[in-house]
């Protein structure tokens, strides 16, 4: 089955930054997390996918076809939440419903009102009275109420408290219960991605460092904590990335169990996505 989103060699050049031949895909029924430090190119990638910027090279296939600005039918199937709300502050959720209902053929008023109720959002209050979290929830409600097949989220959970984030993540997990639905979400909150993502694509300096199954990363990857003398004994072929701290080395390996068998006296911890990201960004990448 074709992936819902296929990005191939997406390239965009700016004077001070290049998004360099990005390729990854979002299979149907999955959540793909896009991680990377600030300025790594996550938002540029999402803009490239959504045709909000002119690509210098590469193709983006949504539902097997290339998205062009006149393909309104394809846009019907995409729900997007940016890192901030883009509705006017003087509007109310009730007015946003009327505006959205006029734009989307598949707009579902009942679904929208259900989300407003679930997120405790008043329908007749102006957006300017909302907190940042409420604004994000409103954006999510609007994005989910026209029966999209693909949700694209750019730091959508960043303004929410842990309880609300957990609720929203449950909404996302419910959304991908349908095998024809998928989510591509960029997030700094990697613990959220550890909870819900199926795949992780890691962007660094405009390039994809890896695009792997999340389980492989958190169940197979490991971090060897060792002294400088122990570090010298490590086979460099086993090292993905390493970083010297004050009194120890942190060494990222792709196969924790294999490393444990090979280096019996070494301390080897599970790797979190944060650990992996930090080692790739701040450490030395060997392979």
């Amino acid at each position: 089955m074709k992936p819902i989103l296929q990005v191939e060699n997406l390239t965009k050049q700016y004077p001070d930054f290049t998004l360099d031949h990005i390729s990854f895909s979002v299979p149907r029924g999955t959540i793909v997390g896009l991680i990377g430090e600030n300025g790594a190119g996550k938002s540029t990638t999402l803009k490239g996918i959504l045709d909000l910027i002119r690509k210098d090279d590469g193709t983006v296939r949504l539902f097997g076809e290339e998205l062009t600005e006149d393909r309104k039918d394809m846009k019907e199937d995409i729900g997007v939440v940016f890192d901030g709300i883009h509705f006017h502050e003087s509007l109310t959720p009730a007015k946003i419903e009327k505006i959205s209902a006029a734009a989307y053929k598949k707009w579902n008023t009942q679904t929208y009102h259900d989300y407003l109720k679930q997120f405790a959002l008043p329908a007749d209050k102006e957006i300017k009275t909302f907190s940042k979290g409420m604004k994000m929830k409103l954006s999510i409600a609007a994005a989910l109420s026209h029966d999209p097949k693909l949700l694209i989220l750019d730091e959508a959970t960043s303004g929410l408290d842990p309880v609300m984030r957990d609720d929203i993540l449950d909404v996302f997990l419910d959304f991908v219960q349908d095998e024809n639905h998928s989510i591509l979400m960029s997030s700094h909150i990697t613990t959220d991605l550890e909870k819900v993502a199926d795949y992780i694509a890691f962007l660094h300096n405009g390039k994809i460092i890896f695009d792997k199954e999340k389980d492989e990363l958190i169940y197979r990857y490991g971090i060897i904590r060792c002294s400088s003398s122990q570090f010298e004994k490590l086979d460099k072929e086993d090292i993905l990335a390493c970083r010297k701290k004050d009194y120890q080395w942190d060494v990222l390996v792709a196969d924790r169990e294999k490393a444990a068998r090979r280096y019996k006296d070494f301390v080897i911890d599970n790797a979190t996505i944060d650990d992996i990201l930090l080692l790739y960004v701040k450490g030395d990448v060997l392979s």
């Binding site: 803009k47 959504l50 045709d51 909000l52 910027i53 002119r54 600005e69 006149d70 309104k72 039918d73 846009k75 019907e76 995409i78 997007v80 940016f82 901030g84 709300i85 883009h86 509705f87 006017h88 502050e89 003087s90 509007l91 007015k95 009327k98 505006i99 959205s100 209902a101 006029a102 734009a103 989307y104 053929k105």
Partner: protein, 216 residues
């Protein structure tokens, strides 16, 4: 398209009290001096300039970026600004016409029983829509190119341009010995809808050309 018009109307309704207050202030300034005709033209131009406010609102909300992920094309978005401009011009002419007649009638400058005065005012209402739409159309490409803040500054210079062109044309015709007789004025009036249509088409194409290249 409908959603974009709705969005602009909802946003402008929020500013409606200020607009109506301003139109009432102009009622007391304009009617005693220029009568209903001057008031209608003033209302049309003031209302047409509300299109600048809609751009300002959109910029603050970064709406265009969001609009482009909705099932809305760039053509729709550009066209919607011309449609909303026309709505504002029509609102201006109706508002100005009704209040202008009432105000002028109260001070005795408009006679409700005079058919010729009604005809004259109707012609002024149509001219008001045409002039304000013409000027508003001139501003829209500037708004797409430079944004609301810069466009506000450039607007006055932009308005001077057609005025200077018309004056230049007038003096050129006069230098060739062509006088603006009633028949010439009638001819110009008759072709003005076509000129306005061509003008709007040109401004739309320029606006779309600018917005087509926009990145978000």
């Amino acid at each position: 398209m409908k959603s974009l018009i709705l969005k602009d109307i909802y946003n402008i309704m929020h500013n409606m009290k200020a607009l109506v207050l301003m139109l009432f202030i102009f009622l007391f300034i304009t009617i005693p001096q220029g009568g209903a005709a001057a008031y209608v033209i003033t209302c049309c131009i003031l209302c047409a300039m509300m299109v600048v406010t809609t751009f300002s609102f959109d910029e603050n909300a970064k709406w265009e970026k969001y609009a482009m992920i909705m099932p809305i094309s760039r053509k729709d978005l550009v066209l919607s600004k011309f449609v909303i401009l026309l709505c504002f011009c029509l609102f201006g002419t109706v508002f100005g016409g009704v209040l202008g007649i009432a105000g002028s009638a109260i001070i005795g400058r408009f006679h409700i029983t005079s058919a010729s005065e009604w005809q004259e005012l109707l012609a002024v209402c149509l001219a008001g829509v045409a002039i304000s739409f013409f000027l508003g159309s001139l501003v829209i490409p500037l708004l797409f190119k430079f944004g609301a803040e810069k466009a506000r500054t450039l607007m006055l210079a932009a308005f001077l341009l057609p005025v200077l062109l018309c004056l230049g044309l007038y003096y050129l015709l006069r230098s060739f010995g062509i006088e603006l007789t009633d028949s010439v004025v009638l001819l110009l009036t008759c072709i003005s809808p076509l000129v306005l249509l061509l003008w709007t088409a040109a401004m739309y194409r320029i606006s779309f050309g600018i917005f087509k290249k926009a990145e978000f």
